[in-house]
């Protein structure tokens, strides 16, 4: 059996990769995908702990998170589309009208 530590390290790494992606990638769609990676890292941690505790709540939580992530992605994509329609770009660097 794989020790819990391994799962946690994997989850932490995934989380860091996702976070780094959101912070560094200029394309809004990629940033959105990176956020999904962060959420998946959390799901992985939930599942690992569920297995460790022998407890079903972690599994249930995974479903909750998937549903929420779907809703979030839908709204996020809609916002990106709205931005693209008005500004003809999804490059985060170019969205700097609001500042100061």
């Amino acid at each position: 059996m794989v020790p819990i530590g391994h799962y946690l390290v994997l989850a932490g790494t995934l989380f860091a990769i996702g976070a780094a992606g959101v912070v560094s990638r200029r394309n809004a769609i990629v940033a959105l995908m990176s956020i999904e990676i962060m959420l998946n890292a959390a799901i992985l941690a939930f599942l690992a702990f569920a297995r460790l505790h022998g407890d079903l709540r972690g599994h249930a939580m995974a479903f909750f998170v998937m549903a929420v992530a779907a809703a979030e992605a839908a709204v996020g994509l809609a916002i990106v589309v709205a931005v693209f329609r008005r500004r003809a770009t999804v490059n985060l660097d170019e969205l700097r009208e609001l500042k100061g």
Partner: protein, 703 residues
């Protein structure tokens, strides 16, 4: 005699509510409602308030009688009606309620304020009929009544202070009612500024009391005072450590008296009241003669149980009051503006009231307050009627011979003049006589104080008859042809209040007939009872029962009578006689000098050698305004210029104008750098913040 019991009463809020509704209605919708509606409902609101107040007083009367002896003479112990409207702050050490309370003292004030206000509202309907700002006027007048009712009904000092500031605000607004006139607006400002000086005293006194007793509720203060058995005890700890209770009380009372001086125009803060005559005459009658200016007296009476324990403070009050009474009366001798004469007369009469407070004659003070409200309101309204008839002319030298054209005005003013000069059996006679007698005979009185009052009484008779004769007798002197032909009596709405007030001025004193009236009581064979004093007796019980004031009150039996045993009825009768004689003397002198040629003297006197100089001094009010112009005002101006130069140029301009641009540039560029619009910069800040916190957590090795 126990202190009064307190009863909850759910109807008290209605009394100030009606005028408040009125003020809001006329202020917001006056124009839409139209003149007719306002004309009926503005006095109507005050009438409703007055009716509610009367009902409350009747309830108070019923509750204040002993169950075993429900008669006024035998069983009157007094009571308090109380309504807590709202608890502002209710934490352990500070309990501040919005509370209304009616006790015998408030009841007298309520009756005076409500009914005099009602009459003056009715009068105003006629007087202001053609004014542009009709709605504004009634809105402010209603608001004034509201504030005055809050003042007299407030159950603790902060509520009283709200009313106090409220009446000050209305006074300011109404003095400057015709604000397009620069001088009139200026007069409003002067009243405002002088009153602020007084308010500072009020606040200091209030904080001192709070520091001493930890409460500002009148009932709470009374119990706190009762709990202090020995007022000369040194306070151990806290704000006033090392002082005696009496010392702190003296300080607080003098501070509060400074506030009272501001509101009630006593020396040296009297200068605003004569200028306040710039407002419409009914305003002068209501605010600057019968109600608001008496608030200072009311404050001292309300806190009588504190003043009684501070003889030094009372001495200050008595001296200031006595000197003001005489000082203002002398100025009134030489004034030629009909309203200015009455204004100085008011200052002088308020001086009498403070004299009474200062010698411990609390009942006499409020009695004079009441009779003064009647006759002075009547005199002012009469003056307003004269001014109205003379198309705005206020100079006595231009008038004359008006008694045929204005018979009602003449006769009502004549009755009031008899009252103010203390003509026997008129209202002012009883009240002024009581003050003079007690100024002489009270344990805290002195024959010098009595003499001040006596001289002022003579002068009062003189200047009032001078005013009457210059206005009504002889030939009409100055008015232009058009005004002369149109001279006529005022409409009924103005004449009615005049008649009512004159009647009160004439007979209103009988409620407070002294127990001893030379000859009369023997002749009638019945002992007199001073109903008025009897009504108020429960109010002074706390002070009378306190060992710290035993020199002032006869401790025997705990009755709230002043210790007058040292003097007999013979002396009382003698003093009464001398007061009447002096008054009559002053009046006769006025008749001798002014009956034939009313105005001639005013032109001839200034040319006389010594008298002329004196006259000019009086005419110019002892140059007090000029002195103030040099000393406090000038000094303040210099200070202001200094501030403008140094503080403003260097500190404000330097720090605020120069540094903020610098600071704004720095923060502006910092913000522009931080918030450069790049969303990923924001995200990295979140990530960095998180990283730092995580690092700190791991470094610390857990929670």
């Amino acid at each position: 005699m126990p202190t009064m019991r307190t009863y909850a009463d759910s109807g008290l809020y209605l009394i100030p509510l009606f005028p408040l509704i009125g003020a809001l209605l006329w202020g917001l919708f006056g124009k839409k409602l139209g003149r007719t509606v306002v004309s009926w409902l503005a006095p109507g609101m005050v009438f409703l308030a007055a009716s509610e107040a009367t009902l409350a007083v009747l309830r108070l009367y019923r509750l204040g009688l002993k169950a075993e002896d429900p008669t006024f003479i035998g069983g009157w112990v007094g009571a308090r009606l109380e309504q807590v409207l709202y608890t502002w702050i209710g934490v352990a050490d500070l309990n501040l309620d919005l509370v209304l309370r009616v006790d015998p003292l408030t009841a007298v004030m309520l009756m005076v304020v409500c009914w005099v206000s009602f009459l003056i509202h009715v009068y105003s309907v006629g007087y202001m009929a053609h004014d542009e700002g009709y709605w504004r006027y009634f809105s402010q007048l209603n608001l004034f009544v509201f504030a005055m009712l809050v003042l007299v009904m407030g159950g603790n000092l902060p509520v009283l202070f709200i009313g106090w500031e409220g009446v000050g605000l209305c006074s300011y607004l109404l003095i400057g009612f015709w604000y397009q006139d620069q001088d009139k607006a200026q007069a409003g400002l002067k009243a405002f500024v002088v009153n602020r000086i007084g308010d500072l005293g009020f606040l200091v006194g209030m904080f001192a009391l709070f520091g001493l007793f930890g409460t500002l509720d009148f009932g709470g203060l009374e119990s706190a005072v009762q709990a202090v058995a020995d007022v000369d005890r040194t306070i151990a700890g806290g704000l006033f450590a090392g002082y005696t209770v009496r010392g702190v009380l003296t300080f607080a009372c003098i501070a509060l008296f400074i506030g009272a001086c501001g509101k009630s125009a006593q020396i040296p803060l009297h200068v605003w009241l004569p200028d306040a005559m710039a407002g419409p005459t009914p305003v002068s009658a209501l605010i600057h003669a019968s109600t608001m200016v008496t608030a200072g007296v009311y404050l001292c009476l309300r806190l009588n149980f504190l003043f009684s324990l501070a003889p030094t403070a009372m001495l200050v009050v008595a001296v200031v009051g006595g000197v003001t009474a005489l000082f203002a009366a002398t100025i009134a001798l030489a004034q030629n503006d009909i309203k200015k004469v009455l204004a100085y007369s008011t200052v002088s009469q308020l001086g009498y009231m403070f004299l009474a407070v200062g010698v411990g004659a609390y009942g006499a003070a409020i009695f004079h307050l009441m009779t003064h409200a009647f006759f002075k309101a009547c005199l002012f309204l009469g003056a307003g009627s004269v001014i109205h008839a003379c198309s705005g002319e206020q100079d006595l030298r231009q008038m004359g011979g008006l008694h045929e054209k204005l018979p009602i005005t003449f006769w009502t003013m004549a009755l009031s003049t008899l009252a103010i000069m203390g003509f026997p059996l008129f209202s002012g006679f009883f009240s002024k006589d009581e003050i003079l007698w007690l100024a002489f005979a009270s344990p805290r009185g002195h024959w010098l104080l009595w003499l001040l009052g006596l001289l002022a009484a003579g002068l009062t008779a003189f200047y009032m008859w001078r005013l009457m004769l210059m206005t009504f007798s002889g030939e009409t002197r100055g008015l232009d042809e058009h005004t002369r032909t149109r001279l006529s009596e005022s409409p009924l709405s103005m004449a009615g209040p005049l008649l009512a007030l004159a009647a009160l001025a004439a007979v209103g004193g009988f409620v407070g007939m002294p127990a001893y009236l030379p000859g009369l009581s023997e002749w009638l064979g019945v002992p007199f009872v001073n109903y008025f004093a009897h009504w108020l007796d429960p109010q002074w019980v706390t002070a009378a029962a306190h060992p710290g004031a035993s020199d002032l009150f006869a401790a025997a039996g705990g009755a709230a009578d002043l210790a007058l045993t040292a003097h007999g009825h013979a002396i009382e009768g003698g003093l009464m006689g001398s007061a009447v004689a002096v008054g009559l003397g002053g009046a006769l002198l006025a008749f001798a000098l002014y009956l034939r040629q009313p105005a001639a003297l005013t032109y001839r006197v200034p040319k006389l050698p010594v008298v002329g100089g004196l006259y000019r001094t009086l005419l110019n009010k002892y140059w007090v305004d000029e002195v103030y112009g040099v000393c406090p005002v000038g000094a303040v101006r210099v200070l202001a210029r200094f501030c403008a130069r140094v503080l403003d140029d260097i500190v404000v301009d330097g720090l605020v104008t120069r540094v903020p641009p610098f600071m704004l540039r720095v923060t502006g560029s910092a913000v522009a750098w931080l918030q450069n619009g790049d969303v990923q910069r924001y995200l990295s800040f979140i990530a960095c913040g998180l990283a730092i916190l995580l690092y700190a957590l791991l470094r610390g090795g857990g929670p």
